[in-house]
Protein backbone atom coordinates (compact mmCIF):
# COMPACT_ATOMS: atom_id res chain seq x y z
CA UNK A 1 0.00 0.00 0.00
CA UNK A 2 1.36 3.32 -1.04
CA UNK A 3 1.38 6.30 1.30
CA UNK A 4 -1.69 8.47 0.84
CA UNK A 5 0.14 11.29 -0.91
CA UNK A 6 1.67 8.97 -3.48
CA UNK A 7 -1.72 7.45 -4.11
CA UNK A 8 -3.07 10.89 -4.85
CA UNK A 9 -0.23 11.56 -7.24
CA UNK A 10 -0.85 8.32 -9.08
CA UNK A 11 -4.55 9.06 -9.25
CA UNK A 12 -3.89 12.52 -10.66
CA UNK A 13 -1.52 11.10 -13.28
CA UNK A 14 -4.04 8.47 -14.38
CA UNK A 15 -6.78 11.09 -14.52
CA UNK A 16 -4.54 13.33 -16.62
CA UNK A 17 -3.83 10.42 -18.95
CA UNK A 18 -7.50 9.54 -19.38
CA UNK A 19 -8.45 13.17 -19.91
CA UNK A 20 -5.68 13.46 -22.45
CA UNK A 21 -6.93 10.45 -24.41
CA UNK A 22 -10.42 11.93 -24.51
CA UNK A 23 -9.27 15.45 -25.26
CA UNK A 24 -9.89 15.22 -29.02
CA UNK A 25 -13.62 15.44 -28.28
CA UNK A 26 -13.11 18.79 -26.59
CA UNK A 27 -13.43 22.17 -28.19
CA UNK A 28 -9.83 23.25 -29.05
CA UNK A 29 -10.30 26.67 -27.49
CA UNK A 30 -11.51 25.22 -24.22
CA UNK A 31 -8.71 22.68 -24.33
CA UNK A 32 -6.22 25.51 -24.72
CA UNK A 33 -7.64 27.33 -21.71
CA UNK A 34 -7.66 24.18 -19.60
CA UNK A 35 -4.03 23.41 -20.41
CA UNK A 36 -3.18 27.01 -19.60
CA UNK A 37 -4.75 26.44 -16.20
CA UNK A 38 -2.60 23.35 -15.69
CA UNK A 39 0.52 25.39 -16.39
CA UNK A 40 -0.73 28.12 -14.06
CA UNK A 41 -1.08 25.56 -11.26
CA UNK A 42 2.53 24.52 -11.76
CA UNK A 43 3.71 28.11 -11.77
CA UNK A 44 1.70 29.14 -8.74
CA UNK A 45 2.58 26.08 -6.65
CA UNK A 46 6.26 26.45 -7.37
CA UNK A 47 6.22 30.15 -6.53
CA UNK A 48 4.26 29.33 -3.40
CA UNK A 49 7.24 27.35 -2.17
CA UNK A 50 9.42 30.45 -2.49
CA UNK A 51 7.02 33.26 -1.60
CA UNK A 52 4.47 31.56 0.55
CA UNK A 53 6.22 28.87 2.50
CA UNK A 54 9.76 30.18 2.70
CA UNK A 55 8.74 33.83 2.82
CA UNK A 56 11.20 35.06 0.20
CA UNK A 57 9.46 37.56 -1.99
CA UNK A 58 10.43 36.83 -5.59
CA UNK A 59 9.20 38.89 -8.51
CA UNK A 60 11.17 37.05 -11.17
CA UNK A 61 9.23 33.86 -11.69
CA UNK A 62 8.45 34.72 -15.32
CA UNK A 63 12.19 35.02 -15.91
CA UNK A 64 12.80 31.44 -14.84
CA UNK A 65 9.81 30.37 -16.87
CA UNK A 66 11.37 32.08 -19.90
CA UNK A 67 14.68 30.26 -19.39
CA UNK A 68 12.82 26.97 -19.41
CA UNK A 69 10.56 27.88 -22.31
CA UNK A 70 13.42 28.84 -24.59
CA UNK A 71 15.62 25.94 -23.53
CA UNK A 72 12.92 23.41 -24.21
CA UNK A 73 11.78 25.04 -27.46
CA UNK A 74 15.32 25.29 -28.82
CA UNK A 75 15.89 21.63 -28.05
CA UNK A 76 12.78 20.36 -29.81
CA UNK A 77 13.00 22.70 -32.81
CA UNK A 78 16.70 22.30 -33.58
CA UNK A 79 17.55 18.90 -32.21
CA UNK A 80 14.16 17.22 -32.72
CA UNK A 81 14.15 17.02 -36.52
CA UNK A 82 17.74 15.77 -36.61
CA UNK A 83 16.91 12.74 -34.52
CA UNK A 84 14.64 11.39 -37.25
CA UNK A 85 12.37 9.92 -34.64
CA UNK A 86 8.67 9.34 -35.17
CA UNK A 87 6.27 12.07 -33.98
CA UNK A 88 5.01 9.80 -31.23
CA UNK A 89 8.52 9.21 -29.93
CA UNK A 90 9.20 12.92 -30.14
CA UNK A 91 6.17 13.77 -28.08
CA UNK A 92 6.60 11.05 -25.49
CA UNK A 93 10.37 10.86 -25.12
CA UNK A 94 12.19 13.83 -26.60
CA UNK A 95 9.70 16.38 -25.33
CA UNK A 96 9.76 15.25 -21.68
CA UNK A 97 13.54 15.12 -21.85
CA UNK A 98 13.54 18.69 -23.11
CA UNK A 99 11.21 19.64 -20.25
CA UNK A 100 13.60 18.13 -17.77
CA UNK A 101 16.50 20.05 -19.26
CA UNK A 102 14.36 23.18 -19.27
CA UNK A 103 13.79 22.69 -15.57
CA UNK A 104 17.47 22.13 -14.94
CA UNK A 105 18.43 25.23 -16.90
CA UNK A 106 15.95 27.31 -14.91
CA UNK A 107 17.16 25.75 -11.66
CA UNK A 108 20.70 26.69 -12.60
CA UNK A 109 19.55 30.23 -13.28
CA UNK A 110 17.78 30.14 -9.93
CA UNK A 111 20.99 29.12 -8.23
CA UNK A 112 22.96 31.82 -10.01
CA UNK A 113 20.48 34.52 -8.97
CA UNK A 114 19.69 33.06 -5.57
CA UNK A 115 23.12 32.30 -4.18
CA UNK A 116 24.32 35.91 -4.08
CA UNK A 117 20.98 37.64 -3.54
CA UNK A 118 19.20 35.48 -0.96
CA UNK A 119 21.26 37.07 1.77
CA UNK A 120 19.09 40.08 1.08
CA UNK A 121 15.74 40.39 2.74
CA UNK A 122 12.24 41.40 1.77
CA UNK A 123 12.06 44.36 -0.56
CA UNK A 124 15.70 44.10 -1.59
CA UNK A 125 15.31 40.54 -2.76
CA UNK A 126 12.13 41.49 -4.62
CA UNK A 127 14.03 44.18 -6.49
CA UNK A 128 16.91 41.86 -7.38
CA UNK A 129 14.56 39.21 -8.74
CA UNK A 130 12.62 41.88 -10.59
CA UNK A 131 15.87 43.00 -12.20
CA UNK A 132 16.72 39.44 -13.11
CA UNK A 133 13.40 38.96 -14.89
CA UNK A 134 13.99 42.07 -16.96
CA UNK A 135 17.56 41.05 -17.80
CA UNK A 136 16.35 37.70 -19.13
CA UNK A 137 13.74 39.42 -21.25
CA UNK A 138 16.22 41.89 -22.74
CA UNK A 139 18.81 39.17 -23.32
CA UNK A 140 16.28 37.08 -25.23
CA UNK A 141 15.20 40.10 -27.24
CA UNK A 142 18.76 40.55 -28.40
CA UNK A 143 19.68 36.95 -29.14
CA UNK A 144 19.23 36.26 -32.82
CA UNK A 145 19.53 32.49 -32.42
CA UNK A 146 16.24 32.43 -30.58
CA UNK A 147 14.53 34.87 -32.90
CA UNK A 148 15.24 38.02 -30.91
CA UNK A 149 12.36 40.41 -30.52
CA UNK A 150 10.51 38.76 -33.40
CA UNK A 151 10.10 35.69 -31.29
CA UNK A 152 10.67 32.00 -31.76
CA UNK A 153 8.26 30.35 -34.17
CA UNK A 154 7.41 26.86 -35.34
CA UNK A 155 7.53 25.11 -32.00
CA UNK A 156 5.74 21.75 -32.28
CA UNK A 157 2.55 21.41 -30.27
CA UNK A 158 3.59 18.57 -28.01
CA UNK A 159 1.88 19.87 -24.91
CA UNK A 160 -1.28 17.97 -24.08
CA UNK A 161 -3.51 17.45 -21.08
CA UNK A 162 -1.38 14.63 -19.74
CA UNK A 163 1.82 16.66 -19.70
CA UNK A 164 0.26 19.82 -18.27
CA UNK A 165 -1.65 18.15 -15.47
CA UNK A 166 0.95 15.46 -14.94
CA UNK A 167 3.55 18.15 -14.32
CA UNK A 168 1.12 20.13 -12.16
CA UNK A 169 0.45 17.03 -10.06
CA UNK A 170 4.15 16.28 -9.67
CA UNK A 171 4.83 19.89 -8.69
CA UNK A 172 2.14 19.90 -6.03
CA UNK A 173 3.33 16.52 -4.82
CA UNK A 174 6.95 17.61 -4.54
CA UNK A 175 6.13 20.91 -2.83
CA UNK A 176 3.73 19.18 -0.48
CA UNK A 177 6.11 16.34 0.28
CA UNK A 178 9.01 18.71 0.79
CA UNK A 179 7.10 20.74 3.35
CA UNK A 180 5.71 17.82 5.27
CA UNK A 181 9.06 16.28 5.97
CA UNK A 182 11.12 17.02 9.04
CA UNK A 183 13.60 18.75 6.80
CA UNK A 184 10.84 20.72 5.14
CA UNK A 185 9.52 22.25 8.31
CA UNK A 186 12.64 24.33 8.11
CA UNK A 187 11.15 26.27 5.22
CA UNK A 188 8.23 27.31 7.41
CA UNK A 189 10.61 28.13 10.23
CA UNK A 190 12.66 30.39 7.97
CA UNK A 191 9.49 32.18 6.90
CA UNK A 192 8.26 32.53 10.47
CA UNK A 193 11.42 33.81 12.04
CA UNK A 194 14.77 33.75 10.37
CA UNK A 195 16.77 34.68 13.47
CA UNK A 196 15.18 31.97 15.57
CA UNK A 197 15.58 29.45 12.78
CA UNK A 198 19.25 30.28 12.62
CA UNK A 199 19.55 29.93 16.37
CA UNK A 200 18.08 26.44 16.07
CA UNK A 201 20.95 25.41 13.89
CA UNK A 202 19.28 25.74 10.51
CA UNK A 203 21.41 26.86 7.64
CA UNK A 204 18.85 29.45 6.59
CA UNK A 205 20.68 30.49 3.45
CA UNK A 206 20.70 26.94 2.20
CA UNK A 207 16.98 26.61 2.84
CA UNK A 208 16.26 29.76 0.93
CA UNK A 209 18.42 28.66 -1.97
CA UNK A 210 16.82 25.21 -2.01
CA UNK A 211 13.35 26.75 -2.18
CA UNK A 212 14.51 29.07 -4.91
CA UNK A 213 16.14 26.35 -6.99
CA UNK A 214 13.26 23.89 -6.67
CA UNK A 215 10.74 26.64 -7.42
CA UNK A 216 12.73 27.76 -10.45
CA UNK A 217 13.00 24.20 -11.69
CA UNK A 218 9.24 23.84 -11.93
CA UNK A 219 8.86 27.32 -13.37
CA UNK A 220 11.26 26.18 -16.11
CA UNK A 221 9.26 23.04 -16.79
CA UNK A 222 6.09 25.12 -16.92
CA UNK A 223 7.85 27.36 -19.42
CA UNK A 224 8.61 24.36 -21.60
CA UNK A 225 4.97 23.32 -21.52
CA UNK A 226 3.91 26.84 -22.34
CA UNK A 227 6.24 26.97 -25.34
CA UNK A 228 4.85 23.76 -26.80
CA UNK A 229 1.31 24.83 -26.07
CA UNK A 230 1.44 28.18 -27.81
CA UNK A 231 3.86 27.14 -30.54
CA UNK A 232 5.33 30.62 -30.46
CA UNK A 233 7.53 32.42 -27.94
CA UNK A 234 8.00 36.13 -27.58
CA UNK A 235 10.33 37.61 -24.96
CA UNK A 236 7.74 40.28 -24.20
CA UNK A 237 5.43 37.56 -22.90
CA UNK A 238 7.76 36.95 -19.97
CA UNK A 239 7.74 40.45 -18.62
CA UNK A 240 7.01 41.86 -15.23
CA UNK A 241 3.26 41.47 -15.75
CA UNK A 242 3.63 37.72 -16.10
CA UNK A 243 5.54 37.53 -12.82
CA UNK A 244 2.91 39.65 -11.12
CA UNK A 245 0.20 37.39 -12.47
CA UNK A 246 1.80 34.44 -10.69
CA UNK A 247 2.35 36.42 -7.51
CA UNK A 248 -1.33 37.38 -7.54
CA UNK A 249 -2.29 33.71 -7.70
CA UNK A 250 -0.16 32.97 -4.64
CA UNK A 251 -1.52 35.92 -2.68
CA UNK A 252 -5.10 35.29 -3.75
CA UNK A 253 -4.86 31.68 -2.70
CA UNK A 254 -3.26 32.58 0.58
CA UNK A 255 0.50 32.56 0.96
CA UNK A 256 1.61 29.14 2.01
CA UNK A 257 -1.63 27.28 1.31
CA UNK A 258 -1.51 24.29 -0.99
CA UNK A 259 -5.13 23.98 -2.01
CA UNK A 260 -5.91 27.68 -1.93
CA UNK A 261 -3.17 28.48 -4.39
CA UNK A 262 -4.32 25.77 -6.77
CA UNK A 263 -7.88 27.09 -6.65
CA UNK A 264 -6.58 30.61 -7.24
CA UNK A 265 -4.54 29.44 -10.23
CA UNK A 266 -7.64 27.83 -11.75
CA UNK A 267 -9.77 30.87 -11.03
CA UNK A 268 -7.30 33.36 -12.45
CA UNK A 269 -6.51 31.11 -15.41
CA UNK A 270 -10.17 31.10 -16.37
CA UNK A 271 -10.67 34.75 -15.46
CA UNK A 272 -7.75 35.62 -17.66
CA UNK A 273 -9.65 34.28 -20.63
CA UNK A 274 -13.05 35.69 -19.76
CA UNK A 275 -11.51 39.12 -19.24
CA UNK A 276 -9.83 38.94 -22.60
CA UNK A 277 -12.63 40.99 -24.15
CA UNK A 278 -11.53 43.91 -22.00
CA UNK A 279 -8.20 43.88 -23.79
CA UNK A 280 -5.66 46.19 -22.25
CA UNK A 281 -7.90 46.93 -19.29
CA UNK A 282 -7.33 43.42 -18.07
CA UNK A 283 -4.32 44.36 -15.97
CA UNK A 284 -6.31 47.18 -14.38
CA UNK A 285 -8.94 44.69 -13.30
CA UNK A 286 -6.18 42.46 -12.02
CA UNK A 287 -4.67 45.25 -9.99
CA UNK A 288 -8.05 46.28 -8.66
CA UNK A 289 -8.69 42.73 -7.61
CA UNK A 290 -5.40 42.70 -5.73
CA UNK A 291 -6.15 45.96 -3.92
CA UNK A 292 -9.62 44.84 -2.89
CA UNK A 293 -8.24 41.53 -1.76
CA UNK A 294 -5.48 43.03 0.36
CA UNK A 295 -7.96 45.34 2.03
CA UNK A 296 -10.59 42.76 2.75
CA UNK A 297 -8.86 39.42 3.05
CA UNK A 298 -5.13 39.88 3.61
CA UNK A 299 -4.84 36.23 4.57
CA UNK A 300 -5.98 35.11 1.13
CA UNK A 301 -9.32 34.18 -0.33
CA UNK A 302 -9.18 30.46 0.12
CA UNK A 303 -8.09 30.04 3.68
CA UNK A 304 -10.32 27.82 5.67
CA UNK A 305 -9.29 26.78 9.14
CA UNK A 306 -9.67 23.22 7.92
CA UNK A 307 -6.65 23.50 5.70
CA UNK A 308 -4.57 24.53 8.64
CA UNK A 309 -1.25 26.35 8.98
CA UNK A 310 -1.18 30.05 9.63
CA UNK A 311 -2.47 31.45 12.85
CA UNK A 312 -4.71 34.43 12.33
Amino acid sequence: MLPKSQLWLLLALVAAGVASALSRFLDPYILDVVMGVGIAITLASSLNLINGFTGQFSLGHAGFMAVGAYTSAMLTTTLGPKLGASPVLLQWAVFPASLLLAGLAAALAGLAVGAPSLRLKGDYLAIVTLGFGEIIKVLLQNMDVVGGARGLVGIPDYTNLFWTFGVAAVTVYVVWGLLNSTYGRGFLAVADDEVAAEAMGLNTTRYKITAFVVGSFFAGVAGGLYAHLKGYLNPGGFDFNKSIEIVVMVILGGMGRHVGVIVAAILLGVLNETLRSFGDYRMILYSLLLIILMLTRPQGLFTWPLWKKKAT
Binding site: R185, L188, D192, G201, K310, A311
Partner: protein, 235 residues
Amino acid sequence: MLEVRNLTVNYGAITALHDVSLRVEQGTIVTLIGGNGAGKTTTLRAISGMVKPKSGSILYQGRDITGVPTHKLVGQGIAHSPEGRMVFANLTVRENLQMGAYLQRDKAVIALEEEFVFDTFPRLKEREHQLAGTLSGGEQQMLAIGRALMSQPKCLLLDEPSLGIAPLLVKSIFEKIVELNRTRGLTILLVEQNANLALEISRYGYVLETGRVILADEASRLRADPKVREAYLGG
Protein backbone atom coordinates in the same frame (compact mmCIF):
# COMPACT_ATOMS: atom_id res chain seq x y z
CA MET B 1 33.79 26.52 29.28
CA LEU B 2 33.16 29.76 27.47
CA GLU B 3 35.56 32.63 27.25
CA VAL B 4 35.29 35.91 25.43
CA ARG B 5 38.47 37.85 24.91
CA ASN B 6 38.66 41.51 23.98
CA LEU B 7 35.59 41.33 21.81
CA THR B 8 34.77 44.36 19.67
CA VAL B 9 31.68 44.44 17.50
CA ASN B 10 30.65 47.21 15.14
CA TYR B 11 27.31 47.85 13.53
CA GLY B 12 28.39 50.03 10.65
CA ALA B 13 30.06 53.05 12.21
CA ILE B 14 28.65 52.39 15.67
CA THR B 15 30.68 50.39 18.13
CA ALA B 16 28.29 48.11 19.97
CA LEU B 17 30.89 46.25 22.00
CA HIS B 18 34.24 47.58 23.00
CA ASP B 19 36.94 45.25 24.25
CA VAL B 20 34.58 42.99 26.17
CA SER B 21 36.05 40.04 28.03
CA LEU B 22 34.20 37.53 30.12
CA ARG B 23 34.35 33.95 31.36
CA VAL B 24 31.67 31.39 32.01
CA GLU B 25 32.76 28.39 34.06
CA GLN B 26 31.26 24.99 33.40
CA GLY B 27 28.02 24.36 35.26
CA THR B 28 27.46 27.90 36.42
CA ILE B 29 24.94 30.59 35.70
CA VAL B 30 26.55 33.84 34.69
CA THR B 31 24.54 36.94 34.03
CA LEU B 32 25.05 40.07 31.99
CA ILE B 33 23.19 43.07 33.26
CA GLY B 34 23.02 46.60 31.99
CA GLY B 35 20.65 49.14 30.53
CA ASN B 36 19.21 49.32 27.04
CA GLY B 37 21.84 49.39 24.34
CA ALA B 38 24.60 48.31 26.70
CA GLY B 39 25.53 45.48 24.36
CA LYS B 40 24.10 42.50 26.21
CA THR B 41 22.23 41.02 23.30
CA THR B 42 25.09 41.78 20.93
CA THR B 43 27.44 39.80 23.16
CA LEU B 44 25.17 36.76 22.94
CA ARG B 45 24.74 37.18 19.20
CA ALA B 46 28.47 37.37 18.73
CA ILE B 47 29.01 34.20 20.76
CA SER B 48 26.43 32.27 18.76
CA GLY B 49 27.89 33.51 15.50
CA MET B 50 25.00 35.71 14.41
CA VAL B 51 27.15 38.81 14.20
CA LYS B 52 30.75 38.88 13.15
CA PRO B 53 33.10 40.53 15.61
CA LYS B 54 35.55 43.12 14.35
CA SER B 55 38.26 41.88 16.65
CA GLY B 56 38.75 39.67 19.66
CA SER B 57 38.11 35.99 20.07
CA ILE B 58 35.60 33.58 21.55
CA LEU B 59 36.71 30.28 23.02
CA TYR B 60 34.40 27.39 23.74
CA GLN B 61 35.76 24.33 25.52
CA GLY B 62 39.22 25.58 24.72
CA ARG B 63 38.58 25.92 20.98
CA ASP B 64 38.41 29.14 19.04
CA ILE B 65 34.89 29.52 17.66
CA THR B 66 35.14 33.12 16.49
CA GLY B 67 33.29 33.52 13.21
CA VAL B 68 31.95 29.95 13.14
CA PRO B 69 28.41 30.09 11.66
CA THR B 70 25.51 29.55 14.03
CA HIS B 71 24.28 26.34 12.50
CA LYS B 72 27.65 24.70 13.19
CA LEU B 73 27.75 25.88 16.80
CA VAL B 74 24.38 24.36 17.61
CA GLY B 75 25.83 20.96 16.85
CA GLN B 76 28.67 21.66 19.26
CA GLY B 77 26.31 22.29 22.13
CA ILE B 78 25.66 26.01 22.17
CA ALA B 79 21.98 26.90 22.11
CA HIS B 80 20.66 30.42 21.83
CA SER B 81 17.20 31.37 22.99
CA PRO B 82 16.82 34.73 21.29
CA GLU B 83 15.36 37.93 22.70
CA GLY B 84 11.67 38.53 22.21
CA ARG B 85 11.06 34.77 22.22
CA MET B 86 10.78 34.40 18.46
CA VAL B 87 8.88 31.17 18.37
CA PHE B 88 7.67 29.93 15.00
CA ALA B 89 4.16 31.31 15.22
CA ASN B 90 2.75 29.19 12.42
CA LEU B 91 4.05 25.90 13.73
CA THR B 92 2.48 23.99 16.59
CA VAL B 93 4.17 23.74 19.98
CA ARG B 94 5.32 20.26 19.17
CA GLU B 95 6.64 21.25 15.75
CA ASN B 96 8.53 24.12 17.36
CA LEU B 97 10.21 21.71 19.71
CA GLN B 98 11.08 19.41 16.85
CA MET B 99 12.69 22.31 15.04
CA GLY B 100 14.86 22.72 18.11
CA ALA B 101 16.13 19.19 17.62
CA TYR B 102 16.79 19.96 14.00
CA LEU B 103 20.30 18.54 13.99
CA GLN B 104 19.35 15.43 15.94
CA ARG B 105 18.70 12.49 13.62
CA ASP B 106 17.91 9.90 16.27
CA LYS B 107 14.11 9.83 16.76
CA ALA B 108 14.40 8.13 20.15
CA VAL B 109 16.61 10.91 21.46
CA ILE B 110 14.18 13.51 20.16
CA ALA B 111 11.30 11.77 21.91
CA LEU B 112 13.28 11.66 25.13
CA GLU B 113 14.14 15.33 24.96
CA GLU B 114 10.56 16.17 24.18
CA GLU B 115 9.45 14.30 27.25
CA PHE B 116 12.00 16.15 29.32
CA VAL B 117 10.79 19.52 28.05
CA PHE B 118 7.17 18.58 28.67
CA ASP B 119 8.11 17.44 32.18
CA THR B 120 9.88 20.71 32.83
CA PHE B 121 7.06 22.81 31.39
CA PRO B 122 3.81 20.86 31.81
CA ARG B 123 1.94 23.83 30.37
CA LEU B 124 3.51 23.12 26.99
CA LYS B 125 2.23 19.57 27.07
CA GLU B 126 -1.31 20.89 27.46
CA ARG B 127 -0.82 23.06 24.39
CA GLU B 128 1.10 20.50 22.37
CA HIS B 129 -0.96 20.85 19.19
CA GLN B 130 -1.73 24.54 19.45
CA LEU B 131 -0.08 27.01 17.09
CA ALA B 132 2.74 28.77 18.92
CA GLY B 133 1.46 32.17 17.84
CA THR B 134 -1.64 31.69 19.96
CA LEU B 135 0.26 31.08 23.21
CA SER B 136 0.57 33.70 25.94
CA GLY B 137 3.87 35.55 26.33
CA GLY B 138 4.96 33.39 29.23
CA GLU B 139 4.09 30.19 27.41
CA GLN B 140 6.00 31.36 24.36
CA GLN B 141 9.01 32.00 26.57
CA MET B 142 8.73 28.49 27.99
CA LEU B 143 8.54 27.21 24.45
CA ALA B 144 11.59 29.22 23.40
CA ILE B 145 13.60 27.78 26.28
CA GLY B 146 12.21 24.30 25.67
CA ARG B 147 13.07 24.57 22.01
CA ALA B 148 16.63 25.57 22.86
CA LEU B 149 16.88 22.57 25.18
CA MET B 150 15.90 20.20 22.39
CA SER B 151 19.34 20.50 20.82
CA GLN B 152 20.81 19.05 24.05
CA PRO B 153 23.03 22.03 24.70
CA LYS B 154 25.91 22.12 27.11
CA CYS B 155 25.78 25.87 27.13
CA LEU B 156 22.56 27.90 26.91
CA LEU B 157 22.54 31.55 25.91
CA LEU B 158 19.34 32.98 27.33
CA ASP B 159 18.30 36.43 26.19
CA GLU B 160 15.80 38.34 28.34
CA PRO B 161 13.57 35.48 29.47
CA SER B 162 11.49 37.90 31.59
CA LEU B 163 10.71 40.34 28.79
CA GLY B 164 7.02 41.18 28.62
CA ILE B 165 5.87 38.39 30.89
CA ALA B 166 3.54 38.47 33.86
CA PRO B 167 5.61 38.70 37.10
CA LEU B 168 4.16 35.49 38.45
CA LEU B 169 5.33 33.56 35.41
CA VAL B 170 8.74 35.23 35.50
CA LYS B 171 9.33 33.73 38.90
CA SER B 172 8.36 30.25 37.79
CA ILE B 173 10.51 30.50 34.67
CA PHE B 174 13.51 31.54 36.75
CA GLU B 175 12.92 28.60 39.05
CA LYS B 176 13.05 26.35 36.00
CA ILE B 177 16.29 27.94 34.87
CA VAL B 178 17.87 27.18 38.24
CA GLU B 179 16.47 23.65 38.10
CA LEU B 180 17.98 23.09 34.66
CA ASN B 181 21.31 24.30 35.91
CA ARG B 182 21.22 22.04 38.97
CA THR B 183 19.83 18.84 37.51
CA ARG B 184 21.42 18.91 34.08
CA GLY B 185 24.56 20.79 34.93
CA LEU B 186 23.64 23.16 32.14
CA THR B 187 25.92 26.15 31.80
CA ILE B 188 23.86 29.28 31.31
CA LEU B 189 24.80 32.73 30.15
CA LEU B 190 21.85 34.90 31.04
CA VAL B 191 21.07 38.36 29.77
CA GLU B 192 18.49 40.16 31.85
CA GLN B 193 16.97 43.56 32.44
CA ASN B 194 15.60 42.34 35.73
CA ALA B 195 19.00 42.53 37.42
CA ASN B 196 17.74 41.67 40.87
CA LEU B 197 16.30 38.37 39.85
CA ALA B 198 19.19 37.54 37.56
CA LEU B 199 21.87 38.16 40.17
CA GLU B 200 19.90 36.17 42.69
CA ILE B 201 20.27 32.97 40.69
CA SER B 202 23.73 33.61 39.23
CA ARG B 203 27.14 32.86 40.56
CA TYR B 204 28.92 35.59 38.68
CA GLY B 205 27.82 38.78 37.02
CA TYR B 206 29.07 41.33 34.53
CA VAL B 207 27.76 44.84 34.28
CA LEU B 208 27.82 46.31 30.79
CA GLU B 209 27.51 49.96 29.99
CA THR B 210 27.66 51.39 26.46
CA GLY B 211 29.48 48.38 25.13
CA ARG B 212 32.06 48.01 27.90
CA VAL B 213 32.33 45.81 30.95
CA ILE B 214 32.42 48.25 33.83
CA LEU B 215 32.10 45.78 36.68
CA ALA B 216 32.66 42.06 37.11
CA ASP B 217 32.25 40.21 40.35
CA GLU B 218 30.53 37.47 42.28
CA ALA B 219 26.81 37.95 41.91
CA SER B 220 26.29 38.27 45.65
CA ARG B 221 28.85 41.03 45.84
CA LEU B 222 27.36 42.87 42.88
CA ARG B 223 24.02 42.85 44.65
CA ALA B 224 25.62 44.47 47.65
CA ASP B 225 27.57 47.01 45.61
CA PRO B 226 26.04 50.46 46.22
CA LYS B 227 26.75 51.60 42.65
CA VAL B 228 25.00 48.60 41.16
CA ARG B 229 22.15 48.93 43.63
CA GLU B 230 21.59 52.50 42.66
CA ALA B 231 21.85 52.03 38.91
CA TYR B 232 20.22 48.65 38.34
CA LEU B 233 18.52 47.37 41.44
CA GLY B 234 16.34 50.33 42.22
CA GLY B 235 18.32 51.71 45.17
